[in-house]
């Protein structure tokens, strides 16, 4: 449980943090530390340098911009997000996913930026980031770079983020008026990680038909993904129980499902369809409310 030796810096601006990270050899950024520190204690991560973002207060803000975009600072904790009134009103699937992370202590320390940068395949927040078409805004030595969530998650602990880039904020475009969201999760009984987590964001027309469906799935495959076959099946339907069941049945189409002690790959695929159904049902009823 004793970590490999490392240097520690806590810069007060993100530009400074980027410089320190870029100059470091095997440096790692630390935010809430709820993924990195356990790995370091187990010897699975051995960074030579830790760059702590905790002094960069502006990175913890959650703000609404003029065009309706909700910009969530990378250091916003899962708990901040769960309790934020704007997030609860506009991005309810994200509020629910953040509220489903780990336990109270983890939610109070762990951050959305940390979760997305670490990219544990069983993390919760990648699912709503995909379903809401979030933009991951990273800062590197060459400046700012915006990465679409759909192009960000690459594999197990693998993302489009470069080794010398730091996530500054996650930008969520304002959903259209008649939009409802929901996150449904099957948690590992011991670890609390998502064996399956599905975020559904559904927009309906005035006549009740489904205009657009976006479904993000985490926990099931090496990287979180958009269930495009299910989205296509749901769009244009009247969103009744039959349409939901038919769409949800396609939520695991084409994936290579993870398999471990907690769930084999065919059980995981089954769970994806069950939890997709639950998330879609709740999202549609919220869109209609």
């Amino acid at each position: 449980m004793i970590t490999h030796p490392f240097t520690y810096q806590a810069p007060s601006t993100i530009d400074e943090a980027v410089q320190q990270l870029d100059r470091s050899d095997e440096g790692k950024v630390i935010a809430g530390g709820h993924s990195l520190l356990p790995l370091m204690k187990l010897g699975l991560a051995q960074p030579e340098a830790l760059i702590d973002l905790r002094r960069i207060a502006s990175l913890r803000e959650i703000r609404s911009e003029a065009d309706g975009t909700i910009a969530i600072g990378a250091l916003a904790t899962h708990r901040d997000i769960t309790h934020d009134q704007t997030v609860r009103a506009k991005l309810v699937a994200l509020a629910e996913a953040a509220g489903a992370v780990g336990d109270l202590q983890v939610r109070a320390r762990g951050t959305i930026g940390g979760s997305l940068a670490h990219a544990d395949p069983a993390a919760d927040e990648p699912a709503p980031a995909l379903a809401y078409d979030a933009i991951i805004r990273a800062v590197g030595p060459k400046g700012r770079r915006d990465i679409k969530a759909s192009e960000y998650f690459k594999g197990v602990f693998e993302t489009a983020l470069a080794a010398n880039e730091i996530i500054a904020e996650i930008r969520f475009p304002a959903p259209d008026g008649r939009t409802g969201g929901a996150y449904a999760k099957f948690a590992h009984p011991a670890s609390g990680f998502a064996i399956t987590g599905v975020a559904a964001v559904i927009t309906i027309k005035a006549d009740g038909t489904v205009e657009r469906a976006a479904i993000g799935v985490t926990g099931a495959a090496a990287a979180a993904y958009r269930a495009t076959a299910a989205e296509k099946a749901l769009a244009g339907t009247n969103g009744d129980a039959k349409a939901i069941a038919a769409a949800a049945a396609k939520a695991a189409d084409g994936i290579t499902a993870l398999s471990d002690l907690a769930a084999s790959s065919d059980y995981r695929k089954h769970l994806v369809t069950v939890y997709a159904k639950r998330a879609i049902e709740r999202a549609i009823s919220r869109a209609k409310a």
Partner: protein, 118 residues
């Protein structure tokens, strides 16, 4: 108070054996369920509220007539939990599932029963 607390703990421990706790090894003898991230020990949030009752029969083996309580709660709770699951699945003809009765094992038993009837 102590007796009630011991019973709560014992009942919960028994439910853990019935539904969650299994030491799983791979073919090379490596323990796979080797951490608390994999091996679930249930806590208060996993179990229902308990109604407790007791019968009081003094023992003759010591001057105070007292008995141990310890893990007594485990004795009934493991079969009670397993029997409840098997009872719920009995319309499908399912009579037995090996402990722990994880959600995947129950799903597989239901699927196998469905296939057998087709």
């Amino acid at each position: 108070m102590i007796v009630e607390g011991q019973l709560h703990g014992g009942i919960t421990q028994g439910i853990g054996q019935a539904l969650y706790e299994g030491a799983v090894y791979d073919n090379d003898g490596q323990l796979l369920s080797g951490s608390m991230m994999e091996y679930h020990v249930p806590s208060a949030e996993d179990v229902p509220a308990f109604d407790l009752d007791s019968t009081v029969t003094l023992t003759n083996t010591n001057p105070l007539g007292v008995k141990g309580i310890g893990e007594a709660g485990t004795i009934g709770s493991t079969p009670a939990a397993v029997n409840a699951v098997i009872d719920a699945l009995s319309p499908l003809g399912i009579k037995h599932i090996d402990m722990p009765l994880t959600s995947e094992k129950i799903w597989r038993a239901i699927r196998a029963a469905g296939e057998g009837r087709r």
